[in-house]
């Protein structure tokens, strides 16, 4: 190994490969292909979807039940709670790592943990929201929550199941590849 170290350290970068400061400066403008940077980019899309879903629910409440001030306040409060939980998840996911303290394994572990937390918040939170909103709509249409039939509850559960699978699919599309890459790297680290 000493011999290999000697060979390795005797090598200097060829002059034609060395870049001057102007060339280095010109390289600083580019889109990152790093897996973690990619997650942060996708996150923006994810936040947009979350805001669209929330706005849809709030807008529908205003349109359908504006006269009932209590229900509007309830829905907005629920949505705010949902957004706060989601915000926590997204913040965890987009948090910057500190290369002075964090090692490579920790950085990857934290990112993976945040991704999985965000996935759980989405696939549990969104179906509950859909179910709640559907039952809320039915209660408005039927006049009272007591008038909701078993069939309507069944449809509500079906809607939440569909939204569960859809959210799961969407999350997989957005972050699935990144999760697999991180897991593969971690497997190599554990090997």
């Amino acid at each position: 190994m000493d011999e290999l170290q000697e060979i390795w350290n005797s090598h200097q970068v060829a002059d034609e490969q060395r870049l001057d400061e102007a060339q280095l400066n010109s390289l600083l403008i580019a889109k990152s292909e790093n897996v973690l940077a990619k997650i942060n980019r996708i996150l923006r899309l994810d936040v947009l979807i979350m805001l669209m879903v929330s706005s849809f629910f709030i807008a529908m409440t205003f349109v359908l039940d504006l006269a009932n001030r209590n229900s509007v306040i309830t829905i907005i409060s629920v949505m705010m709670a949902y957004l706060a939980i989601q915000y926590y998840g997204k913040r965890q996911l987009s948090s910057k790592h500190d290369f002075n303290k964090d090692n490579i394994l920790d950085i990857l572990k934290n990112k993976l943990k945040s991704l999985k937390l965000s996935k759980r918040l989405n696939i549990i939170g969104i179906p509950i929201l859909f179910l709640g909103f559907y039952l809320y709509l039915q209660s408005i249409l039927s006049g009272a929550i007591d008038n909701i039939t078993f069939i309507q509850v069944g449809i509500g559960i079906l809607i939440s199941l569909v939204s569960f699978f859809f959210t799961n699919w969407l999350f997989e599309r957005l972050f699935g590849n990144q999760i697999r890459v991180i897991e593969e790297i971690m497997k190599e680290l554990d090997h």
Partner: protein
């Protein structure tokens, strides 16, 4: 600040070139990775604390970026060597005239991404403790891996020598 940054990188670009050379096959991928590492260092420069060693800090970012970099052509994960690839090693670029270095570099590039990083740090004379702190694995694991890597490199270079 940018001027200082560019000066630092210019003086230490050897680190970036070595990492890029090890983790990529083509010039295009090499340029992409170089740029990627440069951007990551630039983004993190305000975090740098002078109590850390600059080269160690740069290595950590460079290796982290190389390991998590998504190549345009392919991901170089689990890039294990096989005989067909070894045959192509004979076609080394003339411009270097450093055959030993090139052979060593080509042999290391056949290891998986984590072992590449450990080998690079070991060759750059970082201690087991340093490597352990950078990678997040135990010192004993570093030792075990380096022993395993030595055997792998010996086999690969033996095949290279024909």
């Amino acid at each position: 600040m940018k001027t200082d940054f560019l000066k630092i990188i210019s003086q230490n670009q050897n680190i970036l070139h070595k990492v890029c050379h090890l983790y990529t096959d083509t010039n295009e991928d090499r340029e992409d990775l170089f740029q990627e590492i440069l951007i990551q260092i630039w983004k993190s420069i305000d975090q740098f604390q002078s109590k850390s060693k600059l080269s160690t800090w740069m290595y950590k970012i460079a290796l982290h970026t190389a390991i998590t970099h998504l190549n345009k052509s392919k991901r170089l994960l689990n890039h294990q060597y096989h005989v067909k690839e070894l045959l192509s090693f004979q076609e080394l670029p003339d411009r270097y005239q450093e055959e030993d270095y090139q052979r060593l570099n080509t042999a290391i590039s056949q290891l998986n991404n984590i072992d590449k990083a450990i080998t690079l740090l070991h060759l750059e004379k970082h201690s087991y403790q340093d490597i352990s702190n950078m990678m997040g694995i135990t010192e004993s694991n570093v030792g075990v891996r380096i022993n395993r890597i030595k055997k792998q490199l010996k086999t690969i270079m033996h095949i290279q020598n024909g």
